[in-house]
Amino acid sequence: MINLIVIVVSAMMLALLMGWWRWPAFRTWFEAPKHSMLRQERRFDDQNATRTAARLHSSQGS
């Protein structure tokens, strides 16, 4: 049973590595989320900056 688990997990990892090496599109698909995460971070930060600035202006105006 232990050998089977080790073989199965190793085979899965090997398959992933093979896919990575053989198909560039696979690579692109796999790496895409790390860029979308950064885009999201910027969207939220921009919004927060806008809100904070607006709050600051309104507090200064009043």
Partner: protein
Amino acid sequence: MTTGSETPFHRVEQRDTQPDPGVPSVDYGLIRAHVLASFATLLISVAFGLVVATKLNLPEFLGGHAWLTWGRLRYNHTQGIFFGWLGNAFLAFLYYVVPRLADRPVLSRKLGWLLFWIWNCAVVLPGWVLVAAGFSQPLEWAEFPLVVDAFVVLAFILMVFEFVLPFLRARLSDLYVSAWYIIGGIIFTMLAYPVGNLVPELVPGARGAAFSGLWIHDAVGLYVTPFALAIAYYVIPATTRRAIFSHFLSMVGFWLLFFIYPLNGTHHYVYSAIPMAAQKGAIVASAYLGMDVILVVANLLLSLRGSSGTVGRDVPLRFVWFGVVSYLLVSLQGSVQALMPVNRFIHFTDWVIGHSHFAMIGFASFIALGGIAHLWQRIPGTRYNERTMNWSFWLLAAGLTLMVADLTIAGLVEGQVWASSAPWMESVCAVASYWLVRTFSGLPILAGLVLFFTSLVSGPGPSAAITPVASREAYIPAVEGDASISHEPPSSGRIRHAHVIIFGAGAGFFALSFLVLAILPGKELEDEIQRVAPVTMPTLTASEQKGRVVYGREGCAYCHTQQIRSLAEDVRRFGAPTEAWETKYDYPQLWGTRRIGPDLSREFNVRPRDWQLTHLYNPRLVVQDSVMPPYSWLFNGSPDRPTQEALDVVAYLETLGRARQLSGLERQAPGSSVQPGTADMVMAGEPSARATPPTVPIAMTGGYSLSAPVLHPASDPDDLQEEVSRGGALFAANCASCHGSGGVGDGKASASLLPKPANLTAARFSDERLSSVLWNGVAGSSMPPWRQLPTEDLRALVAYIQSLHSSGAAPSTQGATSLNDGESLFAANCAGCHGARGAGDGPVAGGLAPQPTNFHLKKPDRERALEVLANGLPGTAMPPWKSQLSVDQRHALAEFVRSLYGPPQEISRE
């Protein structure tokens, strides 16, 4: 406007500039509430930990109150960290990060507040109160009682709705690694928690321990680690504004974690009765996990390449970086300590406590703190005080480093002592100074946490809290694949398929872990129990069962294991290895994972009840250097006035090992002793081999040997003086608590012991007598065997005890007539017990404990003999003879028994 093209794996979409579809809302109120709750519970939990640590050096500190006893505080310390601190910190970060990762708000604000109140007011606070009040489970990481567990499961179900559903409805075409960790952490903890908390209550002993082992590791691997790594994977790119090194590697690490981590559980029970195949499987999985962690940490640290300056400047990132490095070190440490050659040495020692603090503070807490600081800076209108937070970092890092180094060394010291034949208390005394350092190392940690919280609430005003928009272009470097990002709903529904895959594969491995490490071993253990267990194995009486509950609620299992491993060191010290059948009525199992006191598996028939009660009332009355807490609330003011609960506990202690002894499996060859070269026991698959220990245990396991070595003190006066001097020190450390510092039997514990400890100044003892008593103890009294002491120490004790008696005792003034009278009186009144020749071997002696005195080996002073003849010896079969014998007769008898001293052949006066 969008254009798209298909690849075999991904729909690549290219977007023209278009309006932002709208940023999901983030509930910063919930974030603040959880941050506040996390620090409130953290500071309380750390305070619990400090008190617990202090009690190891000052056992009486805050003693005498049930609510403040070591065991209950220890339960609340770890559960507070687990649920109160980390739970709230993770939840705060989830409210911050899920809308960003899913591009959807969390499901419901109301649900969020319901979750907040359930988590804190139905889990953490009631859990603490119930544990303090004595309602708990004696299971590692599962100490809150079952009623609280129900709310934990409910909370995780609510988390699925609150945090997982937004991902299922996500508008992102791909899922970032943090999201995978969040989904995996919530779902698999929801599944693992009830198994780890409920199953050991339903499946007894060794079989239940297999499930407990899984949960002990799943608590860290499926709950703490995924959320901590989700934070690390988010904070690093969000701070450096560069994508992580490889999302591919991050996903490989993710899958390996969820595949491998659950398979680690049984490495907490290496050399136990759990089948060896399961143990080895867990060890292999532990090695695999180490490789996975190397991969994960390499990916995270490579994500920081070129950003070392940022790590230095940005305090939240520095916290996360410290946590990532700690993750590497503590995980590799974990992999190594699962290996059998290492495990046999360090398991149950403080090394493991250092390891767990390293994991929970160095890894999880540092990353959680980094995550909180990171998000705090991004809540509109809030900033932290950087200077204060910087101080917090260094205090925490210094305190943790000191604590881990100290406990690691302490563990090595304990392992060294345990592997020798030194008495157990030597290991306690050897690490006392390390415990003190550990306690002090907690102070900078507490101060660091207080400073951290101060930094959150003392930051600059809102004018400083504007995100530097000017630098935002740096967020997204022009890298390959950036064009593939889309915020459109995935037309192919791929994301839903991905969730199905994660759930299916993860659930498959999760189920596999229980099959391989719990269900199959459990079946094997069940078969073994049926094959090996005695037909008439006694169950616990109601009193014993109640005592077991008290034993569990007071945390006794957290210092005393009930698990003798199949190791020569364990067998020599405690007796035969614990077998599965011995635990067949243990609901839940009380194997324990730590030894501060000795293992108690073979406590049956070792010590009399009054010793146990005195020890329970105040351990230092009978064991001078004990660090066990006093349980005085189980008594009505004194050890001889126990409550029913105290009697129940002692009744339970007296059952430990009972089934084994009554079954006849505890066969021990008389005269055998500690064999330093004893090999480890044969293990899995050969229960019959485990059933016959090769040696007599060092101590405390009964089996009084009749062939104690005779320890003759040195004959050279100088050597004898040296022995007496050393014996005095040994006596003060080991014997004075009962016999008193002067040896007159008036030690602190003597008030509650029956029979009273011997007055060693009132009799002359032969070498043989003292050797036998030190080697075997005195059955029926509180005198335990001391054969675990080195032979030279026993010899020194013999020399010292003999020096207590004045050798210049007055010679007999009675004539031969009087001796003849005494002999007649002895034959008529005493020979039934003491034997015709006064050797303590009368016809009824075999049924008496303590056995009648052998006057050839012990010569009482005249006054002592007369006193005993007049008043008897309470607690023994010796009655008072005041009313039956006249003063003259008692004098004659006293002189006669005193004349017997010496070898029997010399007393013949024919």
